[in-house]
Symmetry: C2
Subunit: 681 residues, 2 copies
């Protein structure tokens, strides 16, 4: 490509794009680590997007009606940091750029949500950003339907690379976007033909245009270095009735010795080559130096959105007060004042009625009272609506002719659902929850981890949470999945024992501002164990004494979810034998861990033998069994030691030895000094 001719044809554009290229090149070289080629290759498209289309205001980075810009190809983080710096985001100083990838800097290797303003989502694990974006675009549609076009009317722009498009989750995302005609979603594909291992053709020869068309998208193919073509494509995309993919034919590491090679994908650190590249671009200033005129023109771009933002504020202020309050409350992730009283009333009613219900059905009952008072909830399921019990009567179904519908039929797309829910949460104004079978935590994992890392309160409703699902067998029976979610930092794993604990878990999940929740719910019916009404949210304590020993306390049974009623039955057996037994329900370990030592000690005092009962593997339980004043030789575990099997649930619990009698026998053995190690302790 004749770079001189390019520069001559569009000198202003060229120098602005060069500023991105140069900052990226310098920052990566200084860090001796990172990805130079992508920011260099996509600088033209990003420049035109920010200059002529993106509606944003660096002085109000969280303005709710801004356009969203998502760098799905997160390894090209310097593209984003350069844009934020050049357009005048206050926190993105030149010092931060110079400290790219260093301890304490906000300029992490991949864009981390919450580190710097203007980062809309954490990207890096490929395919996540484009899938988040679908959630952003859905959130915009839903909010527009709820609040009107005057206050919600913005676009979601994505830059995605070949890696994003090869990840399977992108297929889930783009077919979902096509299905819902998300016309305000625009994906710019950095079509540079290069991956780490070499040319894309080494591993993939997909006709991406045909693929997107098959998913219901409009596709525009352009020269990704031509500002006129980029501008025209974006203009057309914004008028589309379908989501738009703009295939930008680009050269990775444009103008560098590593142009069009996989070497160009990584860190370009050869000083001589970097100098030559800058010369080829016509960039003459020193490292990290942006000529004043160029900086001013970028600042002007950054200042462009102020008027629009102020006009929006005026329009917003003209909304009825109630609408404004709800809007602001939802964006602030505050729950409505009514929530607490609503949950209490529900609990009282359930304690009195003491229904026998699967906790998935309990969950539906809870949602039936919560959803009407929290218009920001958006429910859904990955094609298991009737099984996950996620749909309540008032939600309405999100569709092309019902944009205000708050229930999403996500289809068989657990991963795409989780990622899009994250997008909705990040967009703001909505509280998404979505269901699948707990075993399919596996499919949703990459996005579940990112919710935890980003500190956003997405709610994952995981039903059929043990062998209790029965005949579907080991492929569908979670065994290690409680451990997996508990192992993940910043994740609440709720495993409620009955309808009351389910209500309390939901209250906590929906009150969380910075921690995602996993709700582990049963397929099978469970008795109400909380028959005595308490206004206090006991799950908030993480673990508590559900029923204390009668007489001398000789044993403590610890259990979660469906095994709490087993523990209660074991307690009855033991009490009949004169063995005083306490039952501790432990619906949320993470919250119990946050309690102080004195409280934990009151719940789990030293002395009695301890038996934990949970229809999952043992990993993690040792803290509560041996630790916290327990002793290995005075403790036992009743649970799973391997994958499950296909049979009716009651047969499985019996055959696999997860019964009240087994728990009682374990207590008797321990009291008699007959401790035995687990086969897999």
């Amino acid at each position: 490509m004749d770079l001189k001719a390019r520069a001559a044809a569009h000198p202003d554009h060229w120098s602005k794009a060069n500023a991105i290229r140069a900052l990226a090149l310098d920052a990566v070289a200084a860090a001796n680590s990172g990805h130079s080629g992508m920011p260099i290759g996509m600088a033209d498209a990003a420049t035109v997007l920010f200059e002529k289309h993106l509606n944003f205001d660096p002085t109000a980075p969280n303005w709710p009606d801004r356009d969203r810009f998502i760098l799905s190809a997160g390894h090209g983080s310097m593209l984003l940091y350069a844009l934020l710096h050049l357009t005048g985001y206050e926190d993105m100083t030149l010092e931060q750029i110079k400290n790219f990838r260093q301890w304490g800097a906000i300029t992490a290797g991949h864009p981390e949500y919450g580190h710097a303003t203007g980062i809309e989502t954490t990207t890096g694990p490929l395919g996540q950003g484009i899938s988040n974006a679908v959630g952003f675009a859905m959130a915009e549609e839903i909010q527009r339907a709820h609040y009107g076009k005057k206050v919600v009317d913005h676009y979601t722009y994505v830059i995605a690379g070949d890696g994003c498009l090869m990840e399977g989750v992108s297929q889930e995302a783009i077919t979902l976007a096509g299905r819902h005609q998300l016309s305000k979603l625009v994906v710019l594909w950095d079509n540079n033909n290069i991956t780490i291992d070499g040319p894309v053709s080494l591993s993939d020869r997909t006709d991406q245009v045909g693929r997107f068309v098959s998913a219901g998208w409009d596709v525009i193919e352009i020269d990704g270095h031509d500002p006129v073509e980029i501008d025209a494509a974006l203009t057309r995309a914004k008028k589309n009735q379908k989501p738009t993919m703009i295939a930008c034919k680009t050269h990775i590491a444009l103008g560098h010795a590593a142009q069009d090679t996989s070497k160009g994908h990584g860190a370009l650190t050869n000083a001589e080559q970097n100098t030559a590249a800058k010369a080829a671009w016509g960039w003459t200033t020193g490292p990290f130096e942006v000529p004043d005129a160029v900086l001013q023109s970028w600042h002007a771009i950054g200042a462009r959105g102020k008027a629009a933002r102020e006009a929006w504020e005026a329009r917003f202020d003209s909304l009825p007060r109630g609408k404004r309050e709800t809007f602001n409350r939802a964006y602030a992730l505050e729950v409505p004042k009514k929530l607490s009283a609503t949950v209490k009333a529900f609990k009282k009613q359930m304690s009195e009625g003491a229904p026998k219900l699967a906790t998935r059905a309990s969950s539906e009952k809870v949602l039936e009272v919560i959803n009407p008072i929290m218009p920001e909830t958006v429910g859904g399921s990955a094609d298991l609506t009737g099984s996950n019990n996620t749909k309540t009567s008032d939600l309405g179904v999100f569709d092309t002719d019902n944009r205000g519908g708050r229930y999403v039929y996500w289809g068989i797309r657990e991963h795409g659902m989780a990622a899009a829910m994250n997008g909705m949460a990040l967009h703001g104004g909505l509280r998404p929850y979505g269901g699948t079978f707990m075993c399919f935590t596996d499919y949703a994992r990459p996005a579940m981890r990112l919710a935890a890392l980003m500190k956003i309160p997405t709610v994952f409703v995981m039903t059929h949470d043990s062998i209790g699902l029965g005949e579907d067998g080991p492929t569908h029976q979670p065994v290690e999945h409680l451990a997996i979610s508990r192992a993940t930092p910043n994740t609440y794993v709720f495993r409620p024992a009955d309808t009351i604990e389910t209500a309390e878990s939901w209250e906590l999940a929906l009150s969380s501002k910075t921690t995602p929740s996993v709700l582990s719910l049963t397929r099978q019916g469970l008795p109400t164990v909380r028959t005595e009404h308490k206004t206090r949210n006991m799950v908030a304590q993480g673990a508590y004494v559900l029923a204390d020993a009668v007489g001398k306390r000789q044993a403590i049974l610890m259990a979660t979810g469906s095994e709490v009623s087993l523990a209660m039955a074991a307690r009855d057996i033991l009490h009949a034998e004169g063995i005083g037994t306490r039952v501790v329900s432990m619906p949320c370990w993470e919250l119990f861990e946050e309690q102080d030592e004195a409280l934990r000690k009151r719940v789990l005092p030293g002395g009695p033998v301890r038996v934990a009962i949970e229809a999952g593997i043992r990993m993690g339980w040792d803290r509560w069994l041996f630790g916290e004043r327990g002793k290995r030789e005075k403790s036992g575990f009743i649970g799973m030691h391997d994958f499950g099997a296909s049979a009716p649930a009651d047969v499985l619990f019996k055959e696999l030895g997860i019964t009240a009698e087994a728990a009682a026998q374990k207590v008797r053995d321990l009291l008699a000094g007959k401790w035995k190690p687990d086969t897999r302790v």
Copy 2:
């Protein structure tokens, strides 16, 4: 649809297909659980496939050159069980069919590999079967190139439903199949327009034909109930130079009151409606009764392949003895006799040279000596070849013009790679290993779990296994992933400390017949800690004394992988202070758990304080810290308590407190009685 006209047009076909339909309907009704509609809807296609195309022999179900049939829509398991029963697989008795989904039966809710002959892979988690199938088809190509068309020449047939096609992993699989022109892969799509939540259009409107064409497939659209069209499509598919998708337009639960509804997807248990359905099909016998003539014609289909199998055996016997032996050895998952000596010689050389190497580089060195003597290995990476160090010089690259190549550029498809590797392992004759960053365990999880469940020895090479990867930051830094894999039943998690342990881990992973392995390898360089050569494979013991205390043993440091050298440095610090310290390297917990109590006690005696060092979260360590003769108040953990950060690796280890000095200080504190709980113990 006029069922009578259908029956009249092809009476023989119709009655055979009816046998499948009736058995499925009866078995699901008897179990009161399962999926009736899919077997009913796909009975025609399956009948034609088995009658006229599938090359198989029920009397030799593992005949290596059989065609493979994969029921990707695993919930329709009764389709498969009916076919196996009708064609005469000995273990699939009518009794088993009657015990569908019951305890102890081989007829699990979803087809479980290893439960019954003729089940080629475990399916149920949607999208897995079709992705396994790509691995099967690649394995066939590779083996054909190695052994010749006379002994390897078979097709892989798949039945996939809408759910399989909506799962993102299917996109990874089909684009891979298209890229490699896997012409002997044929997918029959059960295009019935129904999912659990309702019509497919509720959540998806993808043009599947366009999608497959964009991925490089040939697509044939047919009436899925017309045996002539089915036969013609299969005939054409077999001659194709591309993979073929046959879109079979079908009616779920054909002829039943629930036909074409989502109710028809599930268990059809209404006796009256079931009777009416049978009447509509023209099926007049009682439950589980197949008229003798129909059974005979099915048995004839089952007998069809015997001659071909015998002819194959004759051709196989004419292979040179060496080839035959290698072929049989690889199918039996036996390692070559040379392996042990090769690994020993390598270990000796490395102990002497004591290189400082990242274990990912150690792994490459090991593979450089193993791959040449194990022609059954197939390596690969999800677009991180240079980072995962999975490619050795002799493998050659698998491609359309080099079918014998043993290295696969999987592209950015971690999930598809893992599932296809499972397919290769299931196909037989190959030992696949593939790499990605350990953090992307998340993407590969669904297939990794299935490897464990199926008991197949797939090897997952997970490099960049901690914050030691440095600047890429928290999105790329595994923290909980060791715990995740350790939580999974039947999985070896190897975290070697140096080149020697890496060699020992590889020897074990490649010797395993029934357990998949995760190799957790560093990005950063590590010193050799096993400088004294031992012929014995110490990793086989799971944990062992790497260096014992000098003087009185006051402390035991336990560590894995990159933290073993930290433990050794801490030991030096402590010895200088007169504190006798043992270092226990624990490269594979699962293998240590298998050791007897006496051995475990020798390695981890009671008494000394214990400190575990691992750059991951604590979960799981409590067993070794408090359990196994340890005490909570005499133990400590040096590791991660949250997600990582973006900075150079050495800065991260220091800032996050994972250092030799921190470990030494923890020992001093514990010896002084100054125990403190972890923030997240």
